[in-house]
Every structure is written in C-alpha cells, then in structure tokens.
Amino acid sequence: MNLNISLSEFVEFMAALSLFFAILQTASHRLDFAIKTYTAQSIALSITMFLSVFYYFDYELILSAVLTLLIKGILIPFVMKKITDKIVEDENVKPFVNFTYSVLICIFIVIFSFYITSNTFYCSTDNGTMQKVLAIGLSIIFVGIFLMLARKKALIQIIGFLTLENGIILGATSTVKGLPLIVEIGVFFDVFVGAIMAGILIFHIKDTLESIDTSKLSDLKE
C-alpha cells in the first residue's frame, strides 16, 4: 500500500470538504453553527483554489484564493456574527423542510449534478479532476439555492446566497482557472456589498416585524 496522494486528489478532497460543510449547513439547528460551517466552507474553498494554482500553473488564482479567504472566510462571518448578536433572540433555525430530509435532498443534488456534468464535459488531460470539481461546484450552487428556499429565517437565506456564490467560484476555478481579474474583483465586491446590504435590510425587517422570520413577510399577495 502506498500513501502517495497526488495533487489532483487533494484538490478534489478539499473541494469535497467544502461541499460537506455546505451540506452540514443544511442540517444545522442553530444560526451560529451555520455561520461557523460557512466559515469552514470558505476556508476549504480558498485552500482548494490555492492548491489549484500548483495544478493549473495560473498565478492569478493566488489573488482570488487570498481574497476568498479574507472576504468570505474572515470578513463576512465576522459581520454575520455581529448581526446575529445584535438582532437574534431566538437562535433556532426554523425550516420549511426538516433537517433529515434536507440532507437527503442534498445527497440527491450531489448525485444529480455529477450526472449532469458527466456527459457534457470531458477534458482529456487530467483524468476527471475538472469534471469532479465542476460537479462539486454545481452541487454547492444547488445546495445554496435549496438553503435559500427551504428556510424561514432571513439570516440563513443570506448564508444560502453566499454558499451559492462559493459554488460559482469553485465552478469557475475548475473550468476556466478563474475569471479575468477585473471581473473577479467585481464579483467579490458585489457579493460583499450585497451581503452587507442584506444585513442592513435584516435590521429594517427586525424593526418593522420584531422578528426575522420571513414567513411572516407575506402581506403582499395578488
């Protein structure tokens, strides 16, 4: 038995670790656990991107990896934590879909996205790493969408959106080795400002509604 771990396997592993933390988010009962898992997921993502630099030999990715770590691993969870401390009196996440089924749906999502990418994308040079990491990115996207739709608390919906963005960046890293620098910085900036604005909006929701349960936001119909 040999213990050689090739670089591509390590990249796949870190990407899968990121996906695992995303799935763990759907099973979290409390808000601060969800934020901590999101931090872990972003850190795993930035390590994946950092390792891909050595795999693809594209040094622009280092900047993206560092940006991911700073903005998504440190800054955004810090802001989220601040918001949670100030606003939330009830830490429990209220789900529309209960937690066991959520994880089961996530498993189906993973299988589904591996199936979609298996026929379309073939890259003959790297024995399937690109396809696997792309499938993992696609799964994280769908898990993020699922989080947004299947939870009632506004804060979890923001985390779902941030997970979605993480998945997109992972997909970008695997297929196109990172977007052009201007676009990448624009994406980071937009996501960061978006998260902050959503956070401020949560303050407004709390002021008008006394809770951040979005199922109470159902006045506008027809």
Binding site: M1, N2, L3, N4, I5, E9, F10, E12, F13, A16, L19, F20, I23, L24, A27, H29, F99, T100, V103, L104, C106, I107, V110, I111, F114, S118, G128, Q131, K132, A135
Partner: protein, 305 residues
Amino acid sequence: MGNIVIGILQIVIFIALAPAIKGFIHKIKLNLRGQKGPSILQPYKDLIKLFRKEPVISKDASFISKIAPIVVLLATIISASFIPIFSPNTLLSFTGDVIAFMYVLGLSTFFIALYGLDQGSSFGGLGSAREMTIASLAEPTLMMIMFTFSLEYGTSNISEIFVKAHSHSFNVPIAYVFSLLALFFVSMAENARIPFDNPETHLELTMVHEAMILEASGKYLAIFELSSYMKLLLFISIASNIFLPFLYSSNMLLNILFYIIKVIIFSIPIALLELSVAKFRFFRIPDLLMISFALATLGFVLYYV
C-alpha cells in the same frame, strides 16, 4: 483442509478476543475519567457468571424468546466468518459476498428487535422501535461504504478485497477519509455507543439496545452480551482490515499480533468520542445518520464517477 482450519482458528480467536476489547474500551474510558475501572478480563467473568444462572422467561413470551438468542449468536458468528481477521482464508471466503454479509448482520438486528417486542413489556417495544429507526438509516450507509470498496477493487468478495488491499500496488485515495468517517459513525450507531445510545445507562427511557434485552436473564442474556461484544469487534475489524490495510506479513503469528495492535489502535477513537460528546436526543439521531450517509455518498462519488 488447511484453509478450513485457519478459518476456524480465525473464528475462535475472534470470539475469544471480543469481550477483551469491550473491556479494554471500558477501561480506557474510566481511566480517562479518573476512575480505576474493572479489569480488562471482567466481561469474561460476567459471561461465565451469567451462563451459570437459570433464565427467567415472562409468561407472555412465545417461542421467539427461545430461538432469538441462538439466531442472533449464529448470525453474528456467520458475519464474523466473512471478515478476514489475519488471513484471507476465512470459512466463507468462497462466497464472501458483501451483500450477503450485510444481510446476515441485518438478520441479527432483526431478531434482537423481535426479542424486544416479544417480551410484552413496553420498554422492549420502545427499544425495538428506536433500534429499527437507527438501523434503517445506518444500513444504507454501510452498504454505500461497502460498495465503494467493491467498486474500487472490482470484486464483491470480502476476502479478495482484503488480498488486493494488502498488495503493494495500491494507492489510498484521500477520499477514503469521508468513507472512514461515515464508517465510524455507522459503527457507533450499530453498536449502541454514544452519541446514539449510552451503553452504561440504567435509565430505561433513554435506552435503545439495552431496552430490547432488558427482560433477558441467565444464559440468554449471556448470549446477547456476547453477540454485542462480537458485533463491536466486527466493525472494528472491518475498519482496521479492509479500510487501512497496513501491517501485514506472511507469518501467521505475526499477523495475529498485528491484528491485535490494529484493533487496539482503532478502539481508542471510540473511547475518546464516548468521552467527549453526550448522548444525542433521539430526534437528532436521524440527522446525524443522514450526515454520515452524505459522507459515504461523497466518498463514493469522489472515487467512482
């Protein structure tokens, strides 16, 4: 002929070792808690004591109460004959199928649950219901893990998997970490360990496994206890022999020694986990099992796409 002898030898060593491992885990736990704890050989003494006692059966019990302990013991022994302990020549290596292994294991779970229901006491039914919930979520996970191995090595025969794993031309993919974690959780679930069930508890409302054998006494209790020790050692053997195949030589006595060392190494995380977490409330157990299923699926798709 020599193979059958080796096979029987493996079973005998397995049954002989099982209570010692259980005692070992118990001793580590208590030592780390600061207590002295009973000696490692205490489970043997408990078994001998129980075998000498006369069983008391409730008058509502049917024939199930008499045959269930035997079936459970036999099922566990048969499952154990699938697993190579220190040599690939097990008693059932000619068929050694992964799926058959899982089904025989499931048979023992099923009969314990029947026994719990058969006694007519409400605690028995409670334990059986909980055990079935846990088993229905843990078995698919175990199956997924086993399939990952089968697909990897291209065979569903456990002995062949063992042989191939120990040949030197094999790289351990790092995705194994996921499957290993999933196997760890499944082992804790199937063996009624914390965080799924507290093996030391005396509170009937929190029991899962103990509740089913609450009414057992005498030699039946001894058989049930022995089966649960063997099941624990079974899962540890799966982890140590199939999962991380190292420390293997061609000398049989050395192999027995290596096996004991590997089992001891793998028992330590079990004891550590038992110490660090409290038992989960029952409604959170399906979540945890689903997460381990997700881990197993991740390990599976990472390897085999």
